[in-house]
């Protein structure tokens, strides 16, 4: 994609891009990855602890404990987002806090909080999914296509 874009640039622009690149602060990729690993791992470990909690104290199996765990994680995400902590964690953790389901919750909740000044119907209601919407759209559509292919394969291919 980057190359495609570059083709449309004039030589002067291309030259400047290289000139600027040399002086640009590089993203600390290794450090960011290490942090993402650490924080993402910790969040998943917390999730594991929560699901053991539900299995131990309630009648949930390994299969079914996932649901209350996800709900609990989203709840925690709401508290941290509301207190203004989640974005601080994210600046440190990057994908480590964006990829777990808490990040999905954060995307929905932060948009909801942000637009409450525009009212609950026009603000919160219509802006809630402005960040997370694409995840739902593409997740659902991809799942639809894959399940369709698989079903057809099973029915006619005898797989």
């Amino acid at each position: 994609m980057a190359n495609e874009k570059r083709k449309n640039l004039t030589p002067v622009q291309q030259e400047y891009h290289l000139f600027e690149k040399e002086r640009e602060t590089k993203r600390p990729i290794v450090r960011n990855c290490a942090r993402a690993f650490l924080v993402g791992g910790i969040i998943c470990t917390i999730g594991q602890a929560i699901s053991y909690f539900y299995m131990y104290f309630f009648d949930f199996t390994e299969q079914t404990a996932g649901n209350p765990t996800v709900a609990t994680m989203v709840f925690l995400s709401m508290i941290l987002t509301g207190l203004g902590v989640y974005d601080r964690i994210a600046q440190f953790a990057g994908a480590g806090s964006a990829v777990p389901v808490t990040g999905f919750g954060n995307a929905v909740i932060s948009a909801a909080i942000e637009h409450r000044t525009e009212g609950f119907v026009l603000g919160v209601g219509s802006n809630m999914f402005k960040l997370a919407g694409s995840v739902i759209l593409f997740g659902t559509f991809a799942a639809f296509v894959i399940a369709l292919i698989k079903t057809i394969a099973i029915q006619w291919g005898g797989l």
Binding site: R31, A34, F37, D59, T61, Q63, A65, G66, N67
Partner: protein
């Protein structure tokens, strides 16, 4: 930083494995995996437990039987969990062959394992009668069938 984490990660794994091994030893020394103290005949349960214990892809086993029901709960060693579905299928099939007259309920789920263990301890201590045990087994069976 990354190196440090990997190092600490390895160390952690070692201790964990040790701990989980200790856990299994404890569990085995406590009981034989079947409820011997009960007045119900646990012969089939013991045979099933014996068989499963000999399998390499199974770690801990708890088995209970009552009437025509055989409730088998076991744990799979962590590295074998990748093949969990296959092992479950295999175990279920083998047990069906071994106990043709029985309704076999088997699960590798941790919750079912805990529940079965509880039931077994109860049978040991409280001398439950068949009806009570059947009811409890039914409850565990329902739980194991639940989907997400």
């Amino acid at each position: 930083m990354a190196a440090l984490m990997v190092a600490s990660g390895c160390a952690k794994e070692e201790t964990e494995q040790k701990q989980s091994l200790q856990g299994t030893n404890l569990m085995r020394s406590q009981t034989s995996g079947t409820a011997k103290g009960t007045k119900l005949d646990q012969g089939p349960a013991e045979r099933a437990a014996d068989y499963l214990r000999r399998r390499e892809d199974i770690r801990d086993v708890v088995v209970v039987n009552s009437g025509d029901r055989l409730l088998v709960a076991y744990q799979i060693p962590h590295m074998q969990r990748w093949n969990r579905k296959k092992i479950e299928k295999d175990v279920e099939g083998r047990l069906r062959d071994m106990f043709p007259g029985y309704k076999v309920i088997s699960s590798s789920d941790l919750k079912i394992f805990w529940k079965t263990q509880q039931l077994k301890t109860k049978m040991d201590n409280k001398r439950l009668d068949q009806r009570e045990v059947n009811r409890e087994i039914g409850r565990i069976e329902k739980l194991s069938k639940e989907q997400t």
